[in-house]
Amino acid sequence: MECKRILLGKPFVLLLVALLLVNTYFFVYQNRDEETDFFYYRDTYDAVLTQLSDLSFEEALAWCEEFEEETNQQWIEGTWDFSQESAIKRMIVQQVEEQYAHLVGYEEYLENIQKNAKKLQGVSLFADNSSFAYKNTVKTAEDFASLSGVSVTAGHDLAVTGVFADAWTEIISLIPIFLVCGLFLQERRKGLHVLVNATPMGRGKLAVKRIGILFLASAITVLVLFGSKIFLNGYLYRGLGEWGRTLQSIPMFYNVPYSMTVGKFWLWYLAVKIVGLFFAGLVLWLIQALISNISAAVGVLGVVAGVEFAFTAIPSSSFFAPLRYVNLFSYINYQPVFTRYLNLSVFGNPVSGNAIACILLPILCCILALLLVLVSKKKYPIGGKRRSFQKWERFKAKADRTFSGGGLFVKEAKKLLFYRRGILVLLILILLLTQFGIPYRDEMSSDLYQAYYQEKYAGPITEDTVKALQEELTTATESEQISALTQMLSEISRAKDGDWIVPSEPYEALFTVQQYHYTVALTALLFLSLLVSPIASQERQAETVTLLYSTSGGRRRLWLMKQALIFSATLVVWFLVYGSELLRLTDFYGNFTCLAAPLSSLARVSLYDWNISLGQTLVLLYALRLSVLWTAAQFCFALSSVCKKNSNAVILNCSILILPAALGAIGSSIGSCLSMLLPLTVIDLAPAIFPYLFLFVIFIAAAALSRCFCKIK
């Protein structure tokens, strides 16, 4: 029943189908070429291989080398035709050349291993036959001895190596396992837990059943996702009929000491993937079972994953090197473990990394499964009083006493950041901001010189600077130099009294009207409204409003605290979004200098001709942005206070505040009129005051509205 509920249930089946589509999409995306037919690459590859199939390895290799020589000559002589077809053919011949070079040299490679071993055994340094180096050499020779005499053959290698071209499938195969673990815990949330787990026997049996289900789910996921990937690559590169080839025929596997065919390798690979995914699922499930608090569980999962990932960087000479192989990531991405021949010292004896990984994997799975059965037998739905938990409980009680203090502001902030997951919103924002680019500026060929002269003569324009610039012009030689100087002089001639020469690049980038500013503004609005949305609706959702209103500080003071909180949230978002913008911008274009210069010095890009300095302009610009964001937050607060549910508040805010802004950002003029996008970018509206007055009215109205809804029930 449980098996049916999970594996044949809608979520799992639909997810698997969706992932299969995604997987296929990635496959097509990976192999497509914009200029040629989808099968062109494959057909050319196939044609070259067929052409060479009658030749010996050496002859084929010689042909490839000759072809490459020819094309190189064409490059030099300028007779190369630069067509996509020629480029592809060249690439393919290089690929095939690599294949044949490997085939030609493989036998010798094997012989060398044996020779080396014999030679080293003769050297006195290694003759100490208890040393690791000695044992390792002997073991290597023994391992590869079994391969002598295998016949390597030419074939469609891409059909195999194409499977390992990207790691997308590895990543998405984790998703169904996450889902299954989530479904296991679903009834805990629904309150069915008490029923299902009535007796320890029942609980144990259920856990065993679920372990089986998890294994089945892993098997299905791997077979569907990796099976399809293997099949698709085999089909595309015509390798489906070649599963009888010796695995070592493919350069990628030259270092694999096991004698097997490609078909056997696929079986082995799928088996390891299945057990590996099962292992990952067990780890996830155990974490969830031990930690009922979901955010804590996510945190622990993150730490476990981080530590495991750090283990992958352990050098192979280290005593802890086995940890590199007995590792979630070596199972998630198994191919490097398999293809790399490396012996680790386990108590002085050489053991291959692959063997360590594969032997320990089932053992670890058994241990985890056993733990899970034990945990699920022990764990009570609410408040276990078992002795083993008592210490933990006492610790939690102490932590609770310590951390539940703090003033009203701290408590409200905690509610929003931790209980309403605001911290996640901020983390995602920070992650996103690291991916942001910089605003561009209209570039000209004379820029380099202009920047140089602006830097050199930065400061108030005097007769001396004009003279000096004119002198530079007379000695200038290059045309770009001349045009830069001419332009500067012509700007100076139009300049007002008191204007400066200002290194203008960062200002230009900041003041250019462009898509970039909309994207940034939209991001700020979106994350601020996500952060602030639950601020008032959470009280309604928890149905505590009556309670709060009957306390002395539950009306005006609470409202003031929430006001302080939304202002702080605004400050944080503003600081993150625009602070990082300034960092990126100055990093690329240089610092904002000449802050005391009047705004009219930047006539070329100037916003408006107010009589203020550049420094004041910057302050004004960012202060306006802060106040527009604050208005947006105020607006979210007001909307939030009419919502009975947090999700409704988020939806309402997004549809009223974000949707028009998003439309505006992609170019709809109605969208940008109805949103705060333009006032937030400031630059578009430049001298207009009316929009800001209007926003001020909105600010007051929103504040009043949120206050009213805090009063009347």
């Binding site: 932590a399 408590k411 209980y419 149905e543 009556t546 009957s550 306390t551 002395s552 500080g553 005006r556």
Partner: protein, 244 residues
């Protein structure tokens, strides 16, 4: 004000309508120190009365005076002396019991040090000390009820309003609560609404019987019983409210 003797809550001609539905109809009464048991069927208007006293609902007409001044004028000063346990209230599922109480203490503007001691004491009284660090989301109905009760008692309110406090409590807890309320009532006004008579019988100094938003009878329990020649309050209830 400190002196319990001049604590007085006067309600005069209080009316409240929801649309055309009259929830409270010219309710008048003077309350002084002691426990007042307010009995009435569901829909009699008890919760409405409590919500009016705590200014959670706007009144249509009438007055509510605390020591001679209207509570709407006193505002925050009045709410500072009120402890309210609403009939239907949620809690924050993510808070632990202790954290929730600290949050309410903060809202009640009780000095932090004083609140800390009080909270531990109250957790003992409502018998939640052992689970005080657990999330309220995992609490049973009765446990949540006790947290809400503790919350009302925070800050030693002069006016304690408990709207159906015993709903969801087991008999042992009820007894405990009853004894505690008797102890509390020495120097404060306690409202206790219920539709379960036995909760009030031994606790209340005065019983108020409500029906359709009107106060139809009041008096000391023994006097009321004597008046209808009954054996206990059940008979009183049946005599006055049991006719439909």
């Amino acid at each position: 004000m400190k002196n319990g003797a001049n604590m007085k809550l006067q309600i005069c001609q209080l009316c409240k309508k929801y649309g055309s539905k009259v929830a409270l109809d010219h309710f008048s009464f003077d309350f002084e120190c002691g426990v007042y048991g307010i009995i009435g069927a569901n829909g009699a208007g008890k919760t409405t009365l409590m919500n009016l006293i705590t200014d959670n609902v706007k009144r249509d007409s009438g007055q509510i005076l605390w020591d001679g001044r209207d509570i709407l004028d006193l505002g925050k000063k009045f709410r500072a002396v009120v402890g309210y346990m609403p009939q239907q209230s949620g809690v924050y599922g993510e808070y632990s019991a202790r954290e929730f109480l600290r949050y309410i203490a903060e809202l009640k503007e009780i000095p932090r040090k004083k609140a800390k001691g009080q909270i531990e004491e109250l957790l003992n009284i409502v018998n939640l000390k052992e689970v005080a660090h657990k999330k309220l989301g995992g609490f049973s109905g009765g446990m949540k009820q006790r947290v809400l009760l503790a919350q009302a008692l925070l800050g030693e309110p002069k006016l304690l309003i408990l709207d159906e406090p015993t709903a969801g409590l087991d008999p042992k807890e009820r007894l405990r609560l009853r004894n505690y309320i008797i102890e509390l009532s020495k120097d404060r006004i306690v409202f206790l609404t219920t539709h379960i008579i036995s909760d009030i019988e031994s606790t209340a100094n005065e019983i108020l019987l409500m029906k359709n938003g009107q106060l139809i009878k009041h008096g000391a329990p023994q006097a009321l019983i004597a008046e209808v020649c009954g054996k206990n309050l059940d008979d009183v209830y049946m005599a006055y409210l049991g006719d439909d």
